[in-house]
Subunit: 355 residues, 2 copies
DNA sequence: ATGAAAGCGCTAACAA
DNA sequence: TTGTTAGCGCTTTCAT
């Protein structure tokens, strides 16, 4: 049994110094029963500061069965979108005195499951799931153990007997916004570029792409949709690499697109690189539109036209929903929040011109 | 007292089902005393799987005083460098059966301290500190409580009575590599662009910049060093914004630089934007060199020439060092690992030409 | 080879 | 208003 070099000061030490019982100290610390001797309270607080006491969260959690922490599982922190996402969640959580445990699942259901179980073992009772595999089967065990879950980016079909609160942007609409914009600029051959269709948000965006084309009388050309394969290790290639390869390949094909709709901004950045490799210009030769509106969009040359997700509102809702469940203030049926994306016009899209 | 809806199965349930005592179950689970009835062991394992038992980490930690988790504090996950950094740490830690608790301090010493104390309260005994304020005073309390610390990116002067293991790249050399390269290309007016000099790595890079110039007979021109101010809220502007503003301002000045050395790649990306805003080209009109070598460098137009930090090796060392301390396998004096950076030539630097 | 019992640090009935 | 007591789930001597 490994023990810390310097054992910490406990509630007993405080009690002894203040000349009261441990339960009194606990009462003071937790602000219970304000009908308590003001003088006693002060003695206790004095001892606390003198001793530099700070509570042992594990002992408290073991006793109360409650941990003021929410778990956050994201597919990868290497993509700035998820970094921004995590910051928003953390901000909203901190405002309600919850901490955030951030987990990087690398788009692997196995890792996701591992993390979720580890959270449960640590007494964490609520988790926000970022984009991840379509099936939530691997989470069901945890859910049965009382774990509250809010998913981002996908609605459950309930087909698995699972039904979680969810929060997302209207992805079909987002895609429609993007494609309509391109169509209005005169583009007719629009490429769709994505990593594996591993989340319903991605499927929705593809659906929005197809349906918008159709509704404008254009038959979707399957040779124009590029969906990267998942890698054998269950991971996913870097979005930038996917975009670059897609652009290079598509543009050299027999009937190249004149515009690309990227599944997200990082993929759009990759497309930029692919386009440049061929000596083509954006937006003069090729238009590109992204999704998310990460900060980087403004720094690119040209700045990226994209579909913005209202991340702050989305994450505020997610955190409120989750904490409501954890504190049993919300016992109703599952809630699904869908917010509206909007198009941010910048420099990467321009009118179609014959080349 | 809030309790989980579905109480989890405990070691007692397993013991009952297997018809043994709880201590036997514990023994089996922890692989102790292999001189144990094979048949008993099987009965226990059977019960474990049937019941879907998984240990309560809090109870275990409370008892043993040991948590197989290391904390990782980074300044911001919105910058992909730190995302990559976190992935490396996580990878190295997982290989040794440790989990990683990722904390986003937003470059605020107050938040850093908060996180560190919260880790201590959760029984975490080791933490890796990414770049953060020069003073580690706010960590000293935790360190006295037995928290093991490995710092990245800075060496302690010991002036505060603190002395931690550390891991870093030779930042002075990194800057020398960059500046020498620019000098060899013929540049004489080289700008230095950075956010607040809030870490010794940044100070070192500035020192390397100055000393290299000096050693080549060039008197550093202070009007060429751009160091953004810290914001009142203790946070830091986005690196890209700093770069953009620096480039815009410097380039419009009376005696503009012909090349920029950016404190990191994200700042270099911001400089790209600032240069473009003025209708200038990279590298024809202006050369730019970054630091870190994040993946994004390869996707930019032109790809960014940069000073590479060997992140994988760095993080492997950090994790090994930390776990060695936590498991008391390493009791020696503090260790300081310094690795060598190397220049990655790409397209953002070119020969000086009179404009 | 296995069980009984103590206790990690804390909180929450219940007493006083 | 404050103290006593029992235990949260686990590990680990010490018995047997």
């Amino acid at each position: 049994m490994r023990k810390s070099a310097t054992s910490r000061v406990t509630i007993l030490d405080v009690a002894k110094m203040a000349g009261v019982s441990p339960s009194t100290v606990s009462l003071v610390l937790n602000g219970k029963h304000d009908r308590m001797g003001e003088e006693t309270r002060e003695r206790v607080m004095d001892a606390v500061t003198k001793l530099g006491y700070s509570a042992n969260h594990m002992a408290r959690a073991l006793k109360t069965g409650f941990v003021p922490t929410i778990g956050l599982v994201v597919p990868t922190v290497a993509n700035p979108f998820w970094g921004e996402f995590a910051r928003r969640v953390e901000h909203a959580a901190l405002a309600q005195n919850y901490q955030v445990l951030l987990c990087n699942a690398e788009r692997s259901p196995a890792r996701e499951q591992l993390y979720v179980e580890s959270m449960l073992a640590r007494g964490i009772r609520g988790v926000i799931l970022g984009s991840s595999p379509l099936s939530l089967q691997h989470i069901s065990g945890a859910a049965k153990c009382g774990l509250q879950v809010v998913v981002f980016d996908r609605l459950m079909q309930g087909s698995e007997g699972l039904d979680f609160d969810s929060v997302r942007v209207d992805n079909v609409l987002g895609a429609r916004l993007a494609i309509t914009h391109l169509l209005e600029l005169g583009h007719r051959r629009i490429g769709f570029v994505s990593g594996p269709l591993s989340s319903s948000s991605r499927k929705d965006r593809l659906e929005g792409y197809r349906s918008t084309l159709l509704s404008h009388g254009i038959e979707p050309d399957e040779s124009l949709v590029w969906v990267a394969n998942a890698r054998p290790d269950n991971g996913e290639e870097e979005a930038t690499e996917i975009g670059r390869l897609a652009a290079a390949t598509q543009l050299r094909g027999p009937n190249p697109p004149t515009a690309f709709f990227a599944i997200n901004d990082m993929t759009a950045i990759g497309i930029y690189a692919g386009v440049r490799d061929l000596g083509l210009r954006i937006p003069e030769d090729i238009s590109v539109i992204g999704f998310d509106d990460i900060n980087l969009c403004r720094s690119m040359n040209p700045p990226i036209t994209t579909v913005r997700q209202p991340l702050e509102e989305l994450m505020n809702s997610a955190v409120d929903l989750l904490i409501g469940r954890m504190e049993q203030k919300n016992l109703g049926p599952t809630t699904h929040v869908t917010l509206t994306p909007n198009l941010v016009l910048r420099g990467s899209t321009g009118p179609w011109r014959a080349r």
